[in-house]
Amino acid sequence: MHIFTGPAGVFLMGSILGAQIVITEIERNPAGYANEIPGGNSNKYIEISNTGFDTVEIVGLSVSNNVQSSYITALRDSLDEFCAHTDQSFLAPGQIGILLDPNYTDEANDRPYQFGSDCVLFSTHTRTFFSDFTRSSGVALQNDADSMYAVVADQDPDRYDGNERFSFTAHWGNEGKTGSLHRLFILRDSSRYREQDRSPGKLPDYSQGMLREYRYEDRTQEAAVAVYIRNYSRRADTAAVWENDSSIGTIKIPASGEAHRIFHLPKNESEFTVCGAYFCDSLDISSIWFPAEKVFISEISPRGGVNWFELWNTSTMAIDHSLWTVHKGQDTVSLPRGKIPAGGFAVFSEDSLSLQVENLYITDLFNLGHYGDSFSVEHTNIPVDAVSWEHGDFDDWDEESLHRRSSDGQWYIGPPSPGGYVHSGRDSIGVVVRPEIFIPDGSQDRDSLVIDIMQPTSLNEGTCIIYTARGEEVRRFSFQGTARITWDGKNRFGRDVPRGPLIIYTQAGGSLRKNEAVLWR
């Protein structure tokens, strides 16, 4: 049996039993220094899961990081305080195993992990195996015949020559100080790994013997949510599926079996809930789906000293970009976890910006070409947006950004406005107003209207006036250079300004800008 499952280079091959074993998490770079713990590197681990319906003997298999291999042994030291199984040689269906560094149980180690209550702890026969399990290491499970059960590597190990180490560079997210690499999906064919908080012995949406996964399903005619449930218990169940308060169907889950069903995708902020007798999942629909063409690359800054780009979510729902990636040529960068608010912006930069920007994420963004380049943004396998530019298309382009106001709009040059937009033209000031709808009630994140004014010089003095739609001036501010103005929704006499549209008029250095907002109470 040979299953190849994707460009990240993870594949399974071996026997049916082998195909059941999935490497679900790897921790290669734990916080702390190796010499602080006797034996060093003692807090690294490899998490494996038995996703099949047969018990698999684990002790006796070997694990390789392509520098050295080691037999897997049962962990015989007691770790009862963590409620995990020790001295067990197998993984029952649905059970999770952790391969720990033999030095983990050393009394000098603070043993930092809280394992899942039903996981099984293993170790390696070779005490130095984890010393070579470094940030670029791949990992493979093998049996005595050197056939591989599960591998995490950049490419098929058959393609490495005999002297070459197979490696895994984790395009989908490198481990941070508190994170490890998690397999993106377990029940289906995704073999991608990305950084998330460490959770040894615990899988998301797995409880009471029921492993659930929710995925976007791109049907030809319509988008849908695919629900996968694998039941390792001996009790059958029926899960009810709700969209907000309306029942939209059920899923029959056989004992020791699996169920799969597809539902229409609620393309808004609907709450998608799946509840069985022993579990209840509320799905954030934006974690698997985004409204096409409502989220797009709205600004790129390849020439301003710091490379960054901006995404604009013009839809009415917050969009989770935790599973999104940026692709440029052969390079892939994971976007940090987070959400773009409805109608809001998110800025992804290689470094901090001199401007004050909300929803700014510092990430390992690659260098953007000054004279021409292209990159794309994807949500798992779904294209979100792509951009390409050529210097010759933009006359007199200096250090400004390229902007656009819609997914199919024309790019134009304008002053940098991370976290907002500017109108087309060669204005010398950029003004960003947010939120578009602000609610000065003192309790929400839209509590005040923030006006960021960006100017190339700190000498220009300017005026910002807030007008109602009737053209009545309700507040006036003066500023100099780049400035931030925060307005609480009151006029100059301290009186609340009624609900309604607002026009923010800004002038400085001979440039005028009009921005829009709505005051809501």
């Binding site: 007008y467 009624p498 549209p501």
Partner: protein, 263 residues
Amino acid sequence: MAVKAAVLLVLISICLLTGSPILPGFAGMSGGTGIGLQSTHMHPALITCDGSMIEAGVVTLYGYGGLSDRPLRTNSLGYYHSRGNFKIGGGVEHLEAFGLYQKSTFSLHLGRSFKKNSISARYAPAREKVDFEITRVHSGSILYARRFPRSVLFAGGGIEAYNRNTECRSFRVQIGGRFEDNYLGSQGVIIQYNESLRQFSMDIFEEFSLGKYMNILCGIRSHPSFLFLGLTFRNTSQAAGFMSFLHKDLGWSRAAACQYRWK
């Protein structure tokens, strides 16, 4: 003739600096509810026509075009009926702002005349909507007018944005007069006090007749500074026209309206 020309030149100069705050057409009703426009002009107490009248209008503000993806515009439709001393009317006005906000205002007007005196009241509940919430707001106003052979004087006031949950109420009081069909055409002046902004403003407008059916409207407003210019066409039963008004900072707005009346 020279005196008349000189006075006209002065008035035109004034009008070029200001503008008329009403929709073109008859001294009808719906223009008074138009956003950016004052309310007193179209109060039933000021409407002199007998019979019924229907009016439709549209205002696009500050260059936010009606077909753009971020419009700021108002569409309105109104009806007015007068029989004897009794006046009644109503209308609906829809404001669309930047694709973010909508406001639908429904208004009911009632008026009564006592010889030369008229009084009218208007109640206008409105429904405001953004993506995540819908709420209601109320406004109301009254106006007293006294008519003379070639002029009308009026005074009134109103409360705006009345809402139980907020402290956003604001009052406006207005006093003014309109002088009709005189040596220089028709003129109007309105002084208004906005209690919330603690601000007085003054409107001055002038209507010149250019032939039997065509008129030019122009005027100014002091706060906010507006310049109004318009052109109307009217006969005994129909009227139509358009107007542009220039805000000192926000730029040009445009309005168009048509009216039809019958006995």
